[in-house]
């Protein structure tokens, strides 16, 4: 640890990298299991923690950051537990989801206070560097209370980065940001990841993760549903069967014609109408009008059923 502090002082913290390890981590509240047997190892680079709301992302992040004891399993940073161990904060920074800032301070005061609490050798210099990193120099002497949401978020990121931690955890960092602020934050995370830091951010929005990270950990209902390269997972997601509800003048005739189609993997006929499972979204939507025309059936309604992210995620769990 002393070597890390010395490196920090020299301004070359990225020479040392850190690994955050989760081994069989579970957390439950009474009968409710929030996180269920999650194991992962996070190394340098940007990792996205993706999952629908309520999947247990925040609970997992809190355990990583030492703000929650795992009910079972262990969370460790470079082999040392994060729970009840304030020393980990020499190497770890956290930007929590709750927009909690001392609104009565200016951004500079806020970041400087962080630097002092870290006992950095040159708190003023470190605060200026961190503020420059998030490009907040122009507004640094204004009270945080006067900031927009994106600016507050950047001020909080600056405070979390002031000691140049090897690991930075961010809970829903893009929430409430406008597209420009979002882009800026994404660039910042990229730069930090490229510099050898271990960055983990959570999000429930697929596109955010896509733009920032190559590696993702997907959580669904407390479990780690998928983990690895984003493109592979994305392919899994797009190649999943798509479900459509079709209403037409003759559902039965349409069903017979559709089941002969290569792009259709299943057809179900009931009183509510026709439910079609298609393996290929594009091919099915192109072929449906042609079939309807050929059979002399009029399609009144075509509703894709499972376009919500939750269904994408739940498909991943089953896969």
């Amino acid at each position: 640890m002393t070597t890390i502090s010395a490196d920090q002082a020299a301004g070359t913290p990225t020479a040392v990298t850190s690994t955050l390890d989760l081994a069989g981590v579970s957390r439950w509240y009474g009968n409710v299991v929030a996180v269920n047997d999650v194991s992962m190892s996070l190394g340098p680079g940007v990792t996205g923690l993706l999952g629908p709301n309520g999947a247990g992302k925040t609970t997992l992040l809190h355990m990583m950051a030492g703000f929650l004891a795992p009910s079972r399993g262990a969370v460790s940073l470079d082999g040392r537990p994060t729970w009840r161990n304030p020393d980990v904060y020499r190497r770890l920074g956290l930007v929590s989801e709750r927009e909690a800032v001392h609104t009565f301070l200016t951004a500079y005061e806020f970041v400087l206070a962080s630097a002092k609490l870290h006992r950095l050798p040159d708190p003023a210099g470190a605060a200026r560097r961190a503020i420059a990193l998030v490009e907040m120099e122009a507004a640094q002497d204004r009270r945080i209370g006067t900031y927009s949401k994106g600016m507050r978020q950047r001020a909080r990121v600056a405070a979390a980065l002031v000691h140049e931690p090897q690991v930075l955890l961010l809970d829903e960092p893009f929430n409430g940001m406008d597209p420009r602020q979002r882009l800026h934050m994404m660039e910042l995370l990229h730069r930090l990841g490229d510099a050898g830091r271990t960055i983990l951010f959570s999000s429930h929005i697929l596109e955010e993760v896509e733009q920032v990270s190559g590696t993702v950990q997907v959580m669904v209902a407390g479990r780690l549903a998928a983990s690895g390269d984003f493109r592979t997972i994305r392919r899994l997601m797009t190649n999943r069967p798509h479900v459509f509800t079709v209403h037409s003048t003759d559902d039965r005739a349409l069903a017979v014609a559709l089941i002969a189609e290569a792009s259709v993997t299943g057809v179900e006929l009931d009183r509510a109408g026709l439910t079609v499972r298609a393996g290929d979204y594009g091919a099915f939507t192109r072929v449906l009008p042609k079939i309807a025309l050929r059979e002399g059936v009029r399609v009144r309604q075509l509703v894709p059923q499972d376009e919500s992210l939750e269904s994408v995620f739940s498909y991943l769990v089953e896969a």
């Binding site: 309520g54 609970t59 809190h62 904060y89 009565f104 206070a113 609490l117 979390a160």
Partner: protein
């Protein structure tokens, strides 16, 4: 001043509830001045104003507002995370906050009590009330600071202690006085300036030992609880 104290002080005086501290001490002084200028016998107005208002209401209520404000308010709005994500041993967070809470409470309460005590009897009584209430400020602050880590409703629990335990039970069930900070303050002030205006319910050694035990015990408890501080789980 340490950074933790600095943030605590800025947070305390930056919040509107700080204004709640002002009326009670002002009322205490006004009542004392009024009674004195109307020539009322100090034996008549001394006990109700000094003890009934000063030690039974002003001291614990100010301590409650400040004591739950230094840590509880930061826990409520989530800003505590900024201090907790630092490699500081947790006693380095609790002790500065306790010092700020006890200091602000002592100053806010000791000054009006000194004035009221002086008007009721003598400078000596004023000084003894000020000194004893400073001891009380420390004990109350330790208790209320620990409460903000033990429960999500520290203000409510603190009020129950002050109003029900000390206020109601203290007058009916004499045994509860052994666990009443208010009684320690009365006993200590009476020992420093015996006047007959203050009627202590516990002996001076009990008062001294219990004040120390409460102050140290709840501080140690607060440090330990802060070490295991957990953030609430996902609510959305």
């Amino acid at each position: 001043m340490s950074t933790v104290s600095w943030i605590t002080v800025r947070g305390l005086f930056g919040r509107r509830r700080f204004l709640l501290l002002l009326p009670l001490p002002v009322v205490l002084v006004l009542l004392a001045v009024l009674s004195r200028s109307l020539g009322v016998d100090p034996g008549e107005w001394g006990p109700p104003v000094l003890v009934g208002l000063g030690l039974a209401v002003v001291l614990p209520v100010v301590a409650l507002i400040v004591g739950t404000g230094v840590l509880g308010a930061e826990i409520d709005d989530g800003t505590i995370v900024h201090i907790l994500t630092k490699p500081l041993p947790r006693w380095q967070i609790v002790l500065p906050k306790l010092a700020v809470a006890a200091g602000v409470t002592a100053v806010t309460v000791a000054v009006p009590l000194f004035v009221a005590g002086m008007l009721a009897d003598s400078v000596r009584l004023g000084l003894s009330l000020a000194a004893a209430s400073a001891v009380g400020a420390l004990a109350y602050s330790a208790l209320f600071l620990a409460l903000s880590l033990l429960t999500r409703r520290p203000v409510l629990l603190g009020l129950v202690y002050v109003l029900i335990w000390e206020g109601l039970l203290g007058t009916v069930v004499s045994g509860t006085k052994v666990l009443s900070i208010q009684q320690y303050v009365i006993a200590l002030a009476d020992r420093l300036a015996p006047t007959g205006l203050l009627q202590g319910g516990v002996s001076v050694p009990v008062a001294a030992v219990m004040s120390a035990l409460i102050s140290v015990g709840f501080t140690v408890l607060a440090i330990d609880r802060l070490r295991s501080f957990s953030m609430a789980g996902e609510t959305s």
